[in-house]
Structures are given as structure tokens and as C-alpha cells.
Amino acid sequence: MKKFIYMDNHATTPVDPRVFEAMKPYFMEDFGNAASRTHVFGWRAAEAVKIAREQIARLINAEPDEIIFTSGATESDNLAIKGVAAAYAEKGNHIITCQTEHKAVLDSCKRLETQGCTVTYLPVGRDGRVDPAQLRAAITDRTILITIMFANNEIGTIHPIAEIGQIAKEHGILFHCDAVQALGKVPCDVQALGIDLLSISAHKMYGPKGIGALYVRRRKPRVKLVPIIDGGGHERGMRSGTLNVPGIVGLGKACDICREEMALESARLAALRDKLQNYLMTHLDEVYVNGSIEHRLPNCLNMSFAYVEGESLMMGLDDVAVSSGSACTSATLEPSYVLRALGVPVELAHSSIRFGLGRFNTEAEVDYVAEKMVGVVKRLREMSPLYEMAKRGVDLSTVDWGDHGHAQGGHGHSH
């Protein structure tokens, strides 16, 4: 059997064996319902949940009673945005977000627009960051929520979170932050950064899938939320449903490991990432890093390889799992909206590859991928009509691409 290398850790991560070990007893031995207050099965489950809450709170410098468990960050984003919009409807109906947010945020905002909210989608600069001055200018007396992610899942770009938190505080507006990609990679202190709601997902930090959390500030200010799931009134009434105890234990343990190992692990991953980036940049011409180089997650490298299409690159990297912003890989046949928002030319969006390094990648794997990538790009460029034209000195932007061109409104794959 061929051995595959996994380098798509922004999509999901494997469960850390220590996390798996911690979860195991909560399936068959300590299987109790954490809401059963009358017997030892329930008490044991409740105790495990209590410990997990503390572990999660410690990672983000919150209090345990500010952690609400959910099914994942998609639900956390929905609950934060829709819950605030409903709870603060008398105060206002305006929300500020940004064009490169995850769909869980964007589509929650779109839904609210059909229900009487107005939403500002801030643009980002070429480096993928929102401009705090533009944020300030977008605020009105109807603004109730700013929702901006900590770090982007495609390009790893980190937004100016402390400044955003400060602006929100000055105006008495709540600040929700989707920190899914940043947690466990960079320090994330909700007090220091002025974050009022924060979305967490276990499966991006070596925990299991299907469990997440929402941090909801209880003090200065006490954030109110209208729940989106009604029922038994669990989680301070904000999220009903029997708690997923093994998942919660896994999330707690995952947070604990991240807190203890983050500094070393992030330094190691940044060094590997830089090695990969430098190798590719010195062995290939016309390759470009997408997003900010300075303000970036340590494990993320998103690059465009001019004249070759992303899906064919991934096919060439047949034993390596990465992802691409190319239209050919997406169900909608549209290139990445994140790269488009940065102003990356469409053809370079089609040529992008995201390498997502993780805890279990080794230096030998990085070396292998770097070398293999150079070979694949060179081989595909020899097959590329665009590379040939460019080498002949043709300016591709002046070529008339006829019927199939963009003239039809930039819609990909119109044939």
C-alpha cells in the first residue's frame, strides 16, 4: 500500500492519540448523561464535562461557565450571529463582517438580511486583512455586532484582532470571532483581545469531529443570546440537547495539549513551512504567496503556481493531500471567493495550492513534498499552452480568448 502524506490540516486534523485515550472511557464505562443528577453515572459524566470546560476556558483565558458546547463551529457561528441579532433587536439591526469569512458566518449573515438586518461585508487588502479604519467608518448607531475571524482558513491570514476588539469596545458593540483556525496555533486571550463571543471547533485542533464550543462573555458585558435550538434548557438555556460527553472530553484534552505545547509546536511548524516556501520559491519562477506573509498562521502556506491549474497539480501530487482554490475542484466551478476578495487574478486563483501543516508532519515529509511539487509544476508547465505563450513573450492579458473568455461575465466553465 502506498503511504499517503496528509498536509491538509486546515480542513481537519487527525485525533491526537492522547485525546483518543482520554475519550475512551466515556463511551462504554462512564456513559452517563451529564444532566442526570440522581446517580453516579450522571455525576461522573458531569465531572468530566466540568473538567473539560476548565481546560477550554484556560486556553482562551475565560471562565468555565462562559463555555457553551455545540456540535461544531458551524453551529457556534450560527448561534453567535443569529442569537445576538435576535437578542439585541431593539438596540439595532446592523452587523459588520468581512468578505473572506467562512460560509458559516457569511450565510448566517445572508439569512439575517432576509429577516430585516443589514450587513456590511468589509473588503480586505491584498494581504487579506481588514482595515481597522474601514471598520470604524462602517459603524452606525444601529450596529450591534462585529464578526471577524481570527485567522482565515484558506490563506492563514491573521486579522488585527486586538484593534478590532478595541474599536468594538469603544462603540459598545459586541465582537464575535471565529477562532477555529487560530486556536492552538497562536495565543488567543479573550480578555486581552476584547472578544465577546468566540467559536471553537475540536476537529481542527486534534480533537474529534462533531463537537465545538462558543465562548459567551458573562461579565463586562454580559452577552445575551436567543437560542437557535430549543429543548431541555442545557448550557444556560443557550443550547439545548444532551451533552456529547466523549466529544467534550476530547475537546477539553485537545485544548489542554495545545496550551502546553503550542509555543514549541508553532515554532516547529513555522520553520517547516518556511522551509517549504523557500524551497518552492528558489526552485520555481513565477510562484506567489497568497495572503499576508507577516500576519499568518505558522502552519499555513497558500501559493499560486502560474500557468498550471490547481486540480492537475493535486493529481500530480498523487500521494499528498493538499487543497486548491481552483474552480475545477469546487462543486460550483467557481474559483475561491477568498482569493478573489484579495484581488488575486482569477487565473492565479485557479493555480493555487494550500499546504496545511500539522502536528504529525515530519521534516522528511516536507522535504519530499517540496521536491515532488517542483517536479510536478515543471512537468505541467511543459504541458501548459500558457507557459509556452508566456515564454514566447506573449502578454496573456492582451490575448482575446474568444467565446470562452470572461466576456460572459466572468463565469467559469461556461461551455
Binding site: 492537475s312 474552480a327 474559483p335 501548459s384 499552452p385 470562452h404 470572461h406 467559469g412 466553465h413 461551455h415
Partner: protein
Amino acid sequence: MYSQKVMDLFQNPKNVGSFDEGTPNIGTGVVGSPACGDVMQLQIKVNEQGIIEDARFKTFGCGSAIASASLATEWLKGKTLDEALKIKNIEIAKELELPPIKVHCSVLAEDAIRGAIEDYQKRRGTG
């Protein structure tokens, strides 16, 4: 996701390359656009008897587009222009077992064949 045939043609494509466009017995078709994420160039070399003697391609696009172009060049060899015009994208898609979302990659190949033949005929003044 990919059939073995697509994989094989992607790994070992046939007839990659280009002919000198200036030569009169060469026809060149270029279809697609970089903005759409796919550009296919297909060239035919036609002999005195009007038979396609050789064909070449270059493709910027996914593996299915590369495989479609490679297969098209193989099928073109030895055909008359009229026979070549009868090659349909559906046959290419079927041969390569393309899933529905990849059928348009084979359409590109059919369009490129057409483009190459039209270009050849224009050059010969017979188009």
C-alpha cells in the same frame, strides 16, 4: 473520483507539445480561457491526401482536460478532416469515464478539434 484511464493519460500523456504554427499544413485550435481555469491548444498536421498525420496538444486545466486532449490527439491520427469532425465529446467522456461534472472538459477537446480544423482550412483557403 478519477478513472484509471484518466490517471494513466495524466501520468503518461501522448502527443504533448506543439508544431510551428507558421507551417501551412498545420492547423491550431485554442479554446477556453485562463480566467475560466482551462485553456486547450490542439494542433493537427495534415498531409497531401488530406489525412491527419500527427497531432499535438497542450492543456492548462484539470487532469480530465489533459486526458481528454491526449485522447483526442490519438483519435485524430489517420483520420480525414471530415472523419475528425465527427468525433464527439460524449465519446471522449465515455471512453474516459468522466463524471458529469467533468464532461465539459471533453467539450473543450471537441471544440479544440473543430478550431484546429477551421484554422487549417482557413490557411489552405478551403474554409
